[in-house]
Amino acid sequence: MKKIGLFSLICMMVFVLAACSNNTDGEAESSENEKAAGSQHQTDKRTDAGKQTDTQTDTEPSSSKTENGKTVITFATFYENDLFKEAKRKYEAKHPNIEIQLTSQHASGMDANWDNWETIHEQFVKTTNTQMLAGSGPDVLELDELPIGQYVNQKVLVNVGELMENDPDFHKDQYFVNILDNFKLNDGTYAIPLQFYLNGFTGVQEDIEQTSVSFNDQSWTWEQFIQVSKEMINKGDKKHAFEAPTPGGLLNNLVQGRYSEFVDEANRKANFDSAAFIGLMKQVQQMLDQGIITTEGGGADSTYFRDEILLSISDYLRKQNSSYGEKFYIMPHAEEQKAGGHFQALNMIGINAHSPVKEEAWDFVKFLMSEELGQSTDTLMDTGNQTGFPLNRNVYQKQAQNLLQIGKMNDYEGREFTITEKDLQSLESYLTAAVHPIEYKFTLIQEIIYEESEAFFAGQKSAEDVAKLIQNRVTTYLNE
């Protein structure tokens, strides 16, 4: 009798203490559950694929998240960004009943302290992931450092594509439609890039034209590019056609080109232990041996084409008018994809699907995209950082006009040159042709290919062995 009493006392103590420590979370969770229950209806509608027709019925009062009578929107970013700080100021001035809580984890720029980057980064990603999965988390997020694909799978991001379609105040033609339309996942837009860089090749125009090898950089594929490179080497004086920082990287690009041949995600099969893949590896090795590609940075003198990334309008103008006479070319695209250029998204903004203030959040995101915020110059005065090309076409026009008015500029070697309308027009044609988003983070399969092929390119393992290893590891991943 005594023992039973004492045991139940112990159990009660355990539960009470556990409950008490969870109290703050518990309260937040129970109130989240209430809001979630109310907005469950909305959430289901929003994340339903393409069935949403009317946002007007989602008129749940947004005052469920107020402090001092103001509606609060939490906006989480990783890097400090003056653009966002300015956005917060301007938006709060325009809407006095809204308060934006902007948080950042790490300073940006050259003078920041980068020692603890990894720890801070890991903590940020883990905390945000947990919060999003638990149904809380910030209302608006900067998704650059976060796993967007996984968030979409777990349905914690709002399909802003649908919001864009159904909002009469949103005018798609104000923006670079090619960027917006092509930044999709599972046929929905879950992240909006506020800026983007342009990826491509650069090469000395005169030398390239001298070889009189014809090609169309608007539509060439990787296979065609390899052909062109071979012909250029044969006909011209330069030693190499292309500078590939790593053969593994080039191999990855070629695999991307025929992705469905090697990876069948629906049936969870990989096909790397095949003649096709071994052939690709040997092809890259051959190109290395024949000198078509080089891993040493020879610069414009020894290679026809090099990787290039355009960071802003000024960046483009400086590179176009440099003494090398280089021209920007569009990168080859994968066999299976449509023709067009490549871009890298920056400052991607997403809205939390479990946010209690989705309406206000969407309004704020629209403000972020609008020209009220857009900067008139594309290089930040204080840090000298390039800002990328703005998503908003009107902002882009403002920046371009500004530069035209200034008229002259110094290139990267200090030489002055005139800014012409022609230059700006050709840039615009490149911007509107960009349709393929590039991830600067490797996907897992790319990492596996990269790691294992290193041994092959160093001449230590045979192509067949490496292919088997890649097949083995990728199959494990696909079958999970």
Partner: protein, 289 residues
């Protein structure tokens, strides 16, 4: 008078136990229970009850089955090896031997070496460009890709045995020293041979210790994941892809349903094994007494 004394004793006992029990409940019991609930729902937020759907998906997954098979094979192969080896060494060390203390220390040392050092050293030894391959080339044999072929299981077994043999030797030595010498003397008088003495005295009276060692070894075989992960990363060669790799990867892909179902299955499996072992042990003990 007795009652009052007992009550104070119980209170003191509870007070001492409380921190440990609270910690255990907070960090193990409660999260695991919540995990069991999550494994029956289709989402961690506003999920709906889906019963065993997650388990069905889990068993469908080829990688999960492979991980379970690998874990089973690894435990099934390395634990008997370890027990036999540690028993042999314990028997050796139980006799008067030259350098006995030094030997005992050297067996126990692997337990105190930090994991990072172990991993570093093992990597240098068994990498494709590592020391062992260099020796092999020196004597004219082709290089073996230790960590990326079927040999990887062998490397792990070696690591496991090397790390845990000291602990088991200590346990066996304690067990051996508990057997009264008089039994051996009686057996000598009766004219029993070495083998007879071994099987009918030593093994029989070691059985309780044997159960303990078996249990600890099985648990330690799951612990080898730490070294494996540090050596081979998230997606190692599929021979050493274990259950914990699977669960770790599910955690990183935020797939909480598969993660919790896999954890529940794994705990269930271990519970069954341990329960069977304890039942057999109790039977044996009753038989002994």
């Amino acid at each position: 008078m007795n009652g009052k004394g007992l009550r104070t004793e119980w209170t003191i006992a509870i007070l001492f136990l409380a921190p440990s029990v609270i910690g255990f409940a907070l960090f193990y019991v409660i999260p695991f229970t919540v995990g069991i609930f999550y494994s029956m729902m289709d989402s961690t937020v506003n999920g709906s009850f889906v019963g065993f759907e997650n388990y069905r998906e889990l068993l469908d997954s080829g990688s999960f089955r492979k991980a379970a098979m690998n874990t089973f094979v690894f435990t099934g192969v390395s634990v008997p090896f370890l027990i036999i080896l540690s028993l042999l060494f314990a028997l050796l060390l139980n006799q008067q031997l030259f350098l006995r203390n030094w030997l005992k220390t050297s067996f126990v040392l692997p337990l105190v070496v930090p994991v990072a050092s172990i991993v570093l050293f093992w990597q240098i030894l068994f990498d494709w460009n590592g020391t062992v391959n260099m020796w092999l080339q020196g004597i004219g044999i082709d290089r073996i890709d230790w960590m990326k072929s079927e040999w990887s299981m062998g490397v792990l077994t070696l690591l496991y045995i090397w790390k845990n043999i000291g602990f088991n030797i200590i346990l066996f030595l304690a067990g051996l020293q508990n057997i009264p010498q008089s039994y051996y003397e009686t057996a000598d008088i009766e004219g029993a041979g070495q083998w007879h003495k071994f099987t009918h005295i030593t093994l029989v009276y070691l059985t309780p210790t044997m159960f303990l060692v078996l249990l600890m070894s099985i648990i330690n075989s799951f612990r080898v994941f730490r070294e494996t992960y540090l050596l081979a990363g998230d997606y190692p060669y599929d021979r050493i892809y274990m259950l914990q790799h699977y669960m770790n990867n599910m955690f990183y892909s935020l797939d909480m349903q598969k993660l919790t179902s896999a954890a529940v299955l794994m705990v269930g499996g271990i519970l069954i094994i341990v329960t069977i072992m304890l039942l057999v042990e109790r039977r044996f003990r009753n038989f002994m007494e």
